[in-house]
């Protein structure tokens, strides 16, 4: 008979009940875990630089300089941090409610499509109408993209990690189709849309930088998130995340928490799609989301799903990205070293989630085995 429990220990029979587990279900990371992850990533990154013959000190100095050293650098860092923060705040709402959505990437894509289509509809309207309309269009498309996973999770307990990931794949396929067919201008060779309508373009705030209006959107969303964390509704969602049984016994509807928190995360990701399309690229491409959706999740996790934490984490990743590019151009050190540090960061703090990851993997494997069985 399997004896696994002896290895784990703790088999103490009728012993008196133990005090409550502290961090049983909580998905949010603690400050110390995050700081440790950052520290480990920087040290390991330095070692890798040493091994590849670069001086880590030079590299890190160049990175910091390239991220914060000038007006341009700062603008670059902020413009990269803003979408990460927006996605991070939305994801954090779900995370606090005990839901791990990893579909932001697809929701950004859907939001970009939604914003473009809405903007094209309001092409001849004044900007004061067209801009908010496109923002709303982006948010609604982002929400629509998470609606089915949310309903499946609420009513059929379908794992939201898997379903949201699947919908990211759908979004990638959809945008490829749209940009090759209906949305593609006849003259274009590569898959892309018409230019974003002029009356909906978000201007740059400071000339000579890429500091765009999206940064202000990030600030506004950040303030909303601060309100959410302190609100009674937010508290009830947090309570559900901490102890679903208790929340339900206090009359909080679990289904509503699940659907609403996922919709909120979808809306914020959709807004990012709008910012990407209307602000930075002013056209929709297949790669419109770059990796914002995925890094936004990392930002939410690393920031412990708290307002300040997400902000700091977004700035860190924004700085790593802009600093990495600057390092490459100033010192000739490959920017991919910055990517390595970002990946190490991800690995470092994902250890905190090892049990969840294992459970997820097991779930996936089980599903595959089932599919295999049916095919026979």
């Amino acid at each position: 008979m399997p004896v696994a429990d002896t290895f784990i220990g703790g088999d103490v029979g009728d012993a008196p009940p133990e005090p409550l587990e502290d961090e049983g279900r909580r998905l949010t990371t603690s400050l110390s875990t995050s700081c440790l992850a950052v520290l480990i990533a920087i040290v390991l990154g330095g070692l890798i630089m040493l091994m590849s013959g670069e001086n880590p000190l030079t590299a890190y100095t160049a990175m910091v300089d390239g991220a914060f050293g000038s007006k341009f650098a700062l603008g670059e860092t902020l413009s990269r941090a803003a979408p990460l923060a927006i996605v991070g705040y939305g994801t954090a709402v779900a995370l606090r409610a005990g839901l791990i959505t990893i579909g932001a990437q697809g929701q950004v894509v859907a939001g970009a499509i939604g914003a473009l289509v809405t903007a094209q509809f309001f092409e001849s309207a004044p900007s004061a109408v067209a801009i908010p309309a496109a923002a709303l269009g982006g948010a609604l498309f982002g929400m629509a993209w998470v609606l089915i996973p949310a309903l499946l999770r609420a009513h059929f307990s379908v794992n939201e990690i898997l379903s949201t990931l699947l919908f990211t794949e759908f979004a990638a396929l959809l945008i490829e189709y749209l940009l090759n067919n209906p949305l593609k201008p006849p003259t274009a060779i590569t898959p892309q849309s018409d230019p974003y309508p002029d009356n909906g373009i978000l201007g740059l705030v400071i000339d000579g930088t890429r500091f765009h209006v999206g940064v202000f959107v990030a600030v506004a969303i950040g303030l909303l998130f601060v309100w959410w964390v302190r609100s009674d509704r937010g508290f009830s969602y947090d309570l559900y995340g901490e102890n679903p049984n208790l929340a339900q016994s206090l009359g909080i509807s679990g289904n509503r928490v699940i659907v609403n928190s996922l919709l909120i995360s979808g809306a914020t990701a959709g807004l990012v799609g709008w910012i990407q399309a209307a602000g930075l690229l002013q056209r929709v491409y297949v790669e419109i989301a770059s990796d914002i959706g995925f890094f936004g999740l990392v930002v939410a996790f690393l920031g412990g799903a708290t307002p300040g934490g997400v902000l700091v984490a977004a700035l860190l990743f924004g700085a790593l990205q802009s600093g990495g590019l600057a390092m490459q151009s100033s010192e000739g050190i490959p920017a991919s070293l910055s990517d390595i540090i970002q990946a190490l960061l991800l690995l470092g703090f994902s250890i905190r989630y090892a049990p969840q990851i294992i459970r997820l993997t097991r779930g996936v494997m089980a599903n595959f085995t089932l599919i295999g069985k049916r095919r026979k």
Binding site: D232, N243, L246, S249, A366
Partner: protein, 516 residues
Amino acid sequence: MTSEPGADPATGTPLSVRGVSRRFGSVQALANVDFTLESGEIHALVGENGAGKSTLAKIVAGSIRSDSGSMSLFGQPYRPTSRREGAAAGVAHVRQQLSLVRGLTVAQNLQLGRPGAPAFFNAASARAEVERWSDEFSLSVPAETLVDDMPLAVRQQAEILIAVAWGARLLILDEPSSALGPLETKALIALCHRLRSEGTPILYISHRLPELAELADRLTVLRAGRVVVEGADVRAADLREVATLMIGDVSLLEVNRPEIEQGTTRLTVTDLSVSSTQEIGCHGLNFEVAGGEILGVVGIAGNGQDSLAKALTGQVKLASGHVLVDGEDISGSARQAIAAGVAHLHEDRSTGLAAAFSVADNATARHVRSGRFTRFGVRLADKIARHAGELVERFQVRPPEPAARASSLSGGNQQKLMAARELEKNPTVLVAHGPTKGLDPEAAKAMRDRCFASAQAGGAVVVISADLDEVSDLAHRVVVLYRGRVTDAFPIEEMTSERLGAAMAGLTETMGDASG
């Protein structure tokens, strides 16, 4: 252990336990237990919750050690220091919570952790082995289905099968039938008889007496860690007497119960049925509780208590029936139940509190979404802390620190914190599920007083408990649950060990109606 080697000469007796004791903190789980398992027998070990059955099983299996006493296994001195050592000596312990790895197949589980298993998994031979054993015992245990996808009864068969395949010479089955239906129990009994005829003695732990008559050869009764009956012949035994012996003397009037004046009916339960995938559920319950009255719901754990507690507090959809509080139907709506003044002391503090949240957030959680303590939807931390401070003072939570984490409190204070949240206002109905479970005497008294106070203030109180002392201390009237049905109901004055024991062990005819 203080055994002398060779205390039991090589008689070949499968298992002999002499003078085994074990203490957990202040609880003497086993006291000087003697027990013998003869070859070719199924020996039932019966007793109430907490009688020490599982502790004894774990000592025999090697998962825990005894404080004193000695054991011998097939004539050899036997001192296992781990479950692995016990398994290597041929003792297999199939527990209530099965220990198969749920994400693996039966064939994979067979090889996992097997003594002397090769380093690499040979899928074909493992599958063949499972199939061979499955045929041998006329079972249909699938070799390559994930454990997660198998019904509980088959999982259990798989675990027994794996134990035998690993070369078990002695099998301990701990509450194997508690989650099985009647047909599945029959299959299990057949399997046990089959194993016995192949020469594997079985130690069978249960508190379901009716099935033991069919299954076992001899029985031993444990009560509060002591052997009351050793190795009686099951066929000759009077099961009613055994049930009485299990329970012992039911002690009444130990607690000073306040005089409580009873009012009109506040809680009415009609034709209540709950179907549950996790436990037995409830089937056709009918009862009423008046204001000022304390109803005790007794029964061995897992006989529908959880479903009943959830039904009374609006937390589950009912398969049929109604729960009325002061005439208002609160069935299936926790929100309505709270609005109607229903309070719930959860059985398990881990479901009853938000452990990582502060004492203040926990104490005031019942007000969530009520608009109290908020302005523009924002929670007013000062107001919450102040109100929580008063509650914590009133309910004597120590330390009275609203900012502390709930998880930092002791068990008794966590229970008081839960009471502070639920009993801030006098409840119309209080559902107290094991309110003094695991508490020290002082904290237990405080919780009993809370229940009395709720009744004195005119509330209807339902105490659901597997602990008979808890119920006899509190209740005016008792209903007994067995397999989700009421098997008996009587005023506390009529409570006798015989009557209670028979009803709890399922020896009484199911009653259709148990209103008092």
